[in-house]
């Protein structure tokens, strides 16, 4: 704000840049353009002004790009973290599910399966024989 006031006060006191076009021998050695003090001063300063503005613009644009890049990087990092968490969660839950299913499956499968198998065979044979006898008796 202070700088703006300073600039305004400086500009208020400044002379207006002026120029005139002179013809040959019209108090000049050749035809051309005549600048007043302010005009030539502004012309002399112009390269420096452009350089400063260019430097400022480049710096600003680089900073903006860097900020945008930082946001993009952070977004990727956040996404990566979320996906990693998601993956861990899924694996963890699948492990729990597998353990529960395994437990259920193991409960299904008897520990003495050969005894069960033999018992089943004996029971089957017995039932078949009994049925055979039963039906034979009736006939």
């Amino acid at each position: 704000m202070l700088l703006k006031i300073l600039l305004f006060s400086m500009a208020a006191h400044a002379q207006t840049p002026q120029f005139a076009i002179l013809g040959e021998n019209e108090p000049a050695p050749f035809e051309g353009v005549l600048f007043n003090k302010r005009g030539i001063a502004e012309l002399l300063v112009m390269p420096m002004e452009y350089r400063l503005q260019c430097d400022l613009e480049v710096e600003y644009q680089i900073d903006v790009q860097a900020t945008e890049f930082e946001l993009e990087r952070q977004n990727f990092e956040i996404r990566l973290d979320a996906l990693t968490q998601e993956y861990d969660l899924r694996i963890e839950q699948k492990d729990i599910e597998i353990a529960a299913l395994q437990e259920a499956m193991l409960a299904q499968a008897p520990t003495r399966k050969w005894w069960w198998f033999a018992g089943g065979v004996v029971a089957g044979v017995g039932a078949t024989y009994a049925a055979y006898r039963g039906f034979n008796e009736r006939s």
Partner: protein, 136 residues
């Protein structure tokens, strides 16, 4: 007290052994079916619980992700605002520097009488700046 005549029961069982066997086998099959069904139900519940946990976890992760992204966006906007303000300030500074330099040149022209007595000095400056040829 009811007295059970086991001989009679045995006789009845012997007489109807086929029906009794069928009933016992039927009960066994029903029992086994119920047991299997219970096991299936347990497996289904395990899957359902796992999926529910996954949904809850995913919702939590998603909420956290959104919050972090919001925060990052807020930080980005603040940084951009700051940059904008700095840029504006520096732009004014450049204008001030340029104006000061113009005034300095004007003062030098006046003080050193570069339009009348020391034309060479000003000419030198113009040559240095633009590379023009001086033609007095």
């Amino acid at each position: 007290m009811v007295k059970v005549d086991w001989l009679k029961v045995l006789g009845l069982a012997k007489k109807n052994w086929k029906e009794i066997t069928i009933i016992i086998l039927l009960l066994t099959v029903i029992g086994k079916m119920r047991y299997d069904y219970k096991q299936l139900e347990n497996a289904y519940e395990a899957s359902q619980q796992s999926l529910q946990n996954q949904i809850d976890g995913l919702q939590e992760i998603h909420a956290e992700e959104l919050e972090r992204k919001e925060h990052a966006l807020r930080t980005y906007r603040e940084a951009l605002d700051l940059l904008e303000r700095q840029y504006e300030q520096e732009r004014v500074e450049v204008e001030v520097v340029v104006e000061e330099r113009i005034i300095e040149i004007e003062t030098t022209i006046d003080n050193r009488r570069q339009f009348t007595e020391n034309k060479e000095e000003l000419a030198e400056q113009i040559i240095d700046t633009f590379g023009f040829q001086y033609a007095p």
